[in-house]
Subunit: 325 residues, 2 copies
Amino acid sequence: MTSIAMIEAAAERLNGHACVTPLLSSPFLDEIAGRRLLVKAECLQHTGSFKFRGGWSAVSALSEEERKRGVIAYSSGNHAQGVAAAAKAHGTPAVIVMPADAPQPKIKNTRDLGAEVVLYDRTGGESREAVGAENAKVRGLTLIKPYDEPLVIAGQGTCGLEIAEQAAAEGITQADVLVNCGGGGLSSGIALALEARVPGLRVRPVEPEGFDDVTRSLAAGEVRQNTSLSGSICDAILTPQPGEITFPILSRLCGPGIVVTEEEAMRAMALAFLRLKIVLEPGGAASLAAALFHSSRIDGDAVIAVATGGNVDAALFREALSRYA
Amino acid sequence: MTSIAMIEAAAERLNGHACVTPLLSSPFLDEIAGRRLLVKAECLQHTGSFKFRGGWSAVSALSEEERKRGVIAYSSGNHAQGVAAAAKAHGTPAVIVMPADAPQPKIKNTRDLGAEVVLYDRTGGESREAVGAENAKVRGLTLIKPYDEPLVIAGQGTCGLEIAEQAAAEGITQADVLVNCGGGGLSSGIALALEARVPGLRVRPVEPEGFDDVTRSLAAGEVRQNTSLSGSICDAILTPQPGEITFPILSRLCGPGIVVTEEEAMRAMALAFLRLKIVLEPGGAASLAAALFHSSRIDGDAVIAVATGGNVDAALFREALSRYA
């Protein structure tokens, strides 16, 4: 179980290695949001998303023996790059299990970050869990799960410690904190950090339409699943259901979820380009979309949106600009 | 004459108002640059460029009486927005003199930042100086020049104080600091700050091909002019010649200038999108282009590039991505 002490310990291990990402703002966005809007630009984190925090937290906590044997992760996206970069910096071998049909640049990036990429055929009945488990067993690798892992949650929680400090510097102690939510690792980590430091800041998970398992689970008081697992441009935050470890934390600490459309996420990407000069992927812009376009569902004079990642294909980004910028 | 004490005083006035911009990095860019590359992301500053620092420094130093009467600036670009935003926050009227044929979004942005925009016809023989001087005289406005003004140089110098501190945290005390250079306000401000704090960090001005007045002036030891004043996508850093106040500072403190092509600036914009998740305008990306594509002209194991601004038209940005990302 992740505690504030674990988050503080993770922050010490990350100190000097992770980027302290800035809290950005623009009067133009304040006007659309109808209140003060602060954007935690986590897209500027190493590897382009907050996932570097969790990866570093997990790898840096391994024993020397475990570190020598190596780590393994399943991911075709941001978690893969976060773990690969953290492992490389620690001199730890990393195996990343990716679908053979993943976009070539993602496979290449992960390899360029020093990881061994093991491909599996997701259409041919192979499961990544089976491929991963076999590799882990034979080679003695430590599995780093993307969210249901206390050390990963602690790493993501370091983002919450920064928010607490930066919001205080802006005079904000009462606000909704909108967090893009897949399995809930970042949302629960930030929620735990804020509970300890600034209980007036409350996490609100944000999800894309059609993949609102966390929002429905929070409303029902028990775990609900998504019916589909693909088909959204917000691919970074699609998961089958809230995590076993994360859901009780979310349930205890978060306010109601907010659901945004793909179009709203694309509009938020264009506004982040125009007004904040940052690059967001659709799943990284959902929280900003919620702040801008669902303001009636938000409480208070100020709101904080965590812009979680910027690993977007150039073609999709150009599309967002050509439509909305 | 701007001194380190003036820069420190400006930093105190800016504290809590300007954004402390992060120093970003990527192993992918290090590889291209052939050394450690750190990017000071000044595009994330309020109004999308470092110009907010100089604007704030100048407005905040006015007497109460001067502040009540208001300020005036000539600019169709980043200086206009920096002065307008700083004036608005101080409750000071701002008049910005802009060409009537400036892009509509720039005029609208400047108005939306609370400034009164006075248009002049640059094709019809009106000079902005004449229009501005008349307004300044009749209304008792204080003129804020874009670079030949000690308070503005002091404001831009605060960026240098941050670089000194952030570079030290990265263990860097010896490196070239590449700065996009128009009139030389930012280059001279940073150079003065670094001279006082970390003399091993040396400013190298960067300019676009065909507009290399500072590079040629430094080489000649006396002021040289550009033959043309328009026709580059790096519009943010085009000036007729180095400033009267800035040139002696540049001459005393800077290493040789570096000249980049427009194509290199566009490639740097695409790489900043891919690897750093920041939005740069061509004139804001020239320094990064120098670090990436002119590494043989740079000394040492590390280099710092100041990415000075991100106010780029969406169409041009899309073009950079479609060609190079």
